[in-house]
């Protein structure tokens, strides 16, 4: 069954594949962990298809800065609900490093996290199927905010103070 996800507020079939999920066609979208990117980089950038890198919580996104123009996706992995480093990775990728393509949150993500993640610049979310509808609605949990942030994935304008 194809994996579905929430991207830019819409529920879509995910076109991205990981090496662990079987053979991926040369022109298909391929994402893989930073550790594998490091060793396979030369081979991967010769591919025809879009590339994405998955950051583990302890990874430093600065390692990717030079390669950001070739990446169509960066994902942050959240192994548990209490993991918070990805929020900083997301903000810095958007604000400091100017990454403007797909920024994805994956792992132990529920609808309850998507609003704050979207404020940190995430625009796509891998969620359990039963969470997708609720998560799309949860992007509108709050219609105001105290801090200025990225609000990348939010479809309604968040008013800052």
């Amino acid at each position: 069954m194809p994996r579905r996800l929430l991207r830019d507020g819409e529920i879509l079939v995910d076109e991205w594949r990981m090496p662990a999920e079987g053979a991926v066609a040369d022109d298909a979208a391929l994402m893989l962990p930073l550790a594998e990117w490091r060793t396979e980089r030369a081979r991967l950038i010769a591919r025809a298809g879009p590339l994405g890198v998955i950051l583990a919580p302890a990874d430093d996104e600065r390692e990717l800065v030079a390669d950001l123009p070739r990446l169509a996706l960066v994902a942050a992995e959240f192994p548990t609900m209490s993991e918070g480093r990805g929020y900083t990775q997301g903000r810095l990728l958007r604000e400091r490093w100017g990454f403007a393509r797909e920024l994805r949150a994956r792992g132990a993500i529920r609808r309850d996290q998507v609003f704050l993640l979207a404020r940190c610049g995430f625009n796509s979310f891998e969620l359990p199927d039963i969470e997708l509808e609720g998560a799309a609605a949860a992007l509108h949990t709050f219609s105001a905010a105290y801090q200025s942030a990225n609000d990348w994935g939010l479809r309604t304008a968040v008013r800052h103070r």
């Binding site: 209490s82 929020y87 900083t88 709050f142 105290y146």
Partner: protein
């Protein structure tokens, strides 16, 4: 005081709706216990020994009479008729039902209150000086800055899933009444070399299992950069704080392991990168918030001595439970929540309503909550203190013990808390029974007694002039005693005097410590200063000289 505008109102109302839905999903089985735990903890809801515990934020300890009345009515309607004021200026309810919590939050939202971030690994309710704005020696009122921090930290997108809880305190006077050196960040209002307004910033303080006094990260920070500097500290902590061991996850451990110089270097480097685009507080915003804290319309009065010629009980209360005010003719009045038969910091529904009425009648409708778990009416006319005292005394709220041994700080302990090893409320009762002679208490003078039911140190025992820590010894409740701690400007950590003592021996142990003090003190020397001068040895020798009398 600060009043909500449409943004604040919208946020708390939408938060109630969000939490109502989360509670519904949990009760319907759509959220597991563990998933709900992460969510409810960020809204002050713990599952405790007997029932859930809900902690409600009282930002920087300031309440309107309307808000206090609502806290009283919540105690009556959803709890067992009382609430517990905490060292971080919050109030806790010990008996709500989970399914009622969304309704409680809705009641709170109606009076501009909430329970947002009162627990969980996020930036907690900001605390400050309970005497802010009314003491003569203040450099600047810290409440506008506390409110600016409250807003910035509420639903902060980046810092809501930190390695561990994160507490910020703000002070604006030379006297530290907010235990700011024991916070993850202490913000001290300061002046720069040219007298320009700003802050001294401390980090890495904290209690718990590993008590640490905060260290200065920056001597002087210009005021408009406060929030970007806090973001830099939080960002370093969020990325580099330990997440593998809950006991090593507070920022104090990170600061210790890096050393303050390296920690400072990283913070400053991050701040240089972010301050250009980070949050900046322009003068207009500072003035907008400050306008909420303008002084009330004081009457032109002369100072009087209302205690002269009055009965001894009033004179004692006036001396111990009131404090000098910056405006002539006014007095700051402490309402003691410490009396023999009540858990320290507890107030009943009717007491809260009465205090709200008294605040309306005598103190411009405002009430403050203190670090030492008492309440304060900040702006009382000296000439009206006698009638105020009579009203408080009738309600059991005039125990004349502020600053004395029985004005103790105490956590809920084993009686309520699922973390505690030992009861603290019962020990408080034993201490009150033993030390019930006010002449003796007054002779002892200022002594901070602080008691925690376990090493999580919610009762701040490490920083008590006398600290009592409940420990579990083979299923029995025992108590470890420390002396020499302080939470104020002269913050220090107490030293353990020796093996822990049985519950029944706690009062006798205290009596022996005090006996040494009375014998050895210099004229006008406080207990803490005698301990600092002599060290713990003479105290230790006396306590363990012979078995304590049963």
């Amino acid at each position: 005081m600060y009043r909500y505008d449409v943004i604040d109102k919208t946020l708390v109302e939408q938060r109630v709706a969000q939490f109502r839905d989360q509670t519904r999903r949990f009760l319907a089985g759509e959220l597991s216990e563990d998933e709900f735990r992460h969510l409810r903890l960020r809204n002050g809801l713990y599952i405790q020994r007997h029932a859930p515990m809900l902690r409600v934020a009282i930002p920087y300890g300031l309440l309107s009479s309307t808000q206090l009345r609502t806290l009283g009515s919540i105690a009556r309607r959803y709890d067992r008729g009382y609430g517990h004021f905490t060292t971080r200026q919050n109030i806790q309810y010990n008996w709500p039902r989970i399914e009622d919590v969304p309704d409680i939050l809705a009641d709170l939202a109606a009076v501009e209150m909430h329970a947002i971030q009162t627990s969980g690994n996020c930036i907690r309710n900001v605390t400050s000086d309970p005497l802010a704005g009314v003491v003569p020696e203040e450099l600047e009122d810290p409440r506008p800055w506390s409110e600016i921090i409250r807003q910035w930290s509420t639903f902060h997108p980046e810092f809501t899933y930190l390695p561990r809880k994160f507490k910020i305190a703000v002070t604006g006077a030379p006297q530290d009444r907010a235990a700011s050196q024991l916070h993850d960040i202490g913000v001290h209002i300061a002046r720069g070399p040219e007298g320009e307004p700003g802050f001294e910033i401390l980090a890495g303080g904290g209690l718990g299992r590993t008590p640490v006094i905060g260290q200065v990260v920056r001597d002087f920070l210009p005021r408009e950069h406060l929030l970007s500097y806090l973001e830099a500290i939080l960002r370093i902590y969020n990325r580099e704080g330990r997440r593998d061991n809950i006991h090593k996850a507070r920022i104090k451990i990170l600061v210790k392991s890096l050393g303050i110089e390296e920690f400072r270097r990283r913070v400053e480097t991050e701040w240089e990168s972010l301050k250009g685009n980070g949050p900046r507080t322009p003068v207009e915003e500072i003035e907008r918030i400050r306008a909420f804290f303008t002084p009330p319309s004081y009457r032109a009065l002369a100072d009087v001595d209302p205690a002269a010629g009055q009965e001894a009980a009033f004179r004692a209360w006036y001396r111990y439970n009131t404090h000098a005010h910056k405006v002539p003719g006014y007095r700051i009045v402490f309402i003691s929540l410490k009396k023999p038969d009540v858990a320290p910091g507890d107030a009943t529904d009717t007491q809260m309503e009465l205090i709200a009425d008294l605040a309306d009648r005598y103190s411009f409708g405002e009430v403050r909550v203190t670090y030492a778990q008492n309440l304060v009416l900040g702006d009382v006319e000296q000439g009206k203190t006698l009638e105020l005292w009579r009203a408080l005394a009738l309600a059991g709220l005039a125990t004349p013990n502020i600053g004395t041994l029985t004005d103790m700080i105490c956590c809920p302990g084993l009686d309520f808390c699922s973390l505690a090893n030992a009861g603290s409320i019962e020990v408080a009762k034993l201490i009150n029974e033993r030390f019930d002679d006010y002449d003796y208490l007054y002779d002892l003078g200022e002594i901070d007694l602080k008691m925690s039911g376990c090493m999580n140190a919610c009762g701040h025992h490490h920083v008590g002039a006398i600290g009592i820590l409940g420990v579990d010894k083979g299923g029995e409740e025992w108590y470890q005693i420390t002396i020499g701690g302080a939470a104020g400007t002269d913050a220090s950590l107490g030293s353990v005097i020796g093996p822990s003592v049985a519950k029944r021996d706690v009062p006798e142990t205290l009596a022996r410590l005090l006996e040494v003090y009375v014998r050895q003190r210099h004229p006008d020397e406080r207990f803490i200063d005698t301990v600092r001068r002599l060290g713990i040895k003479p105290f230790k020798e006396r306590v363990y000289a012979a078995p304590a009398a049963a």
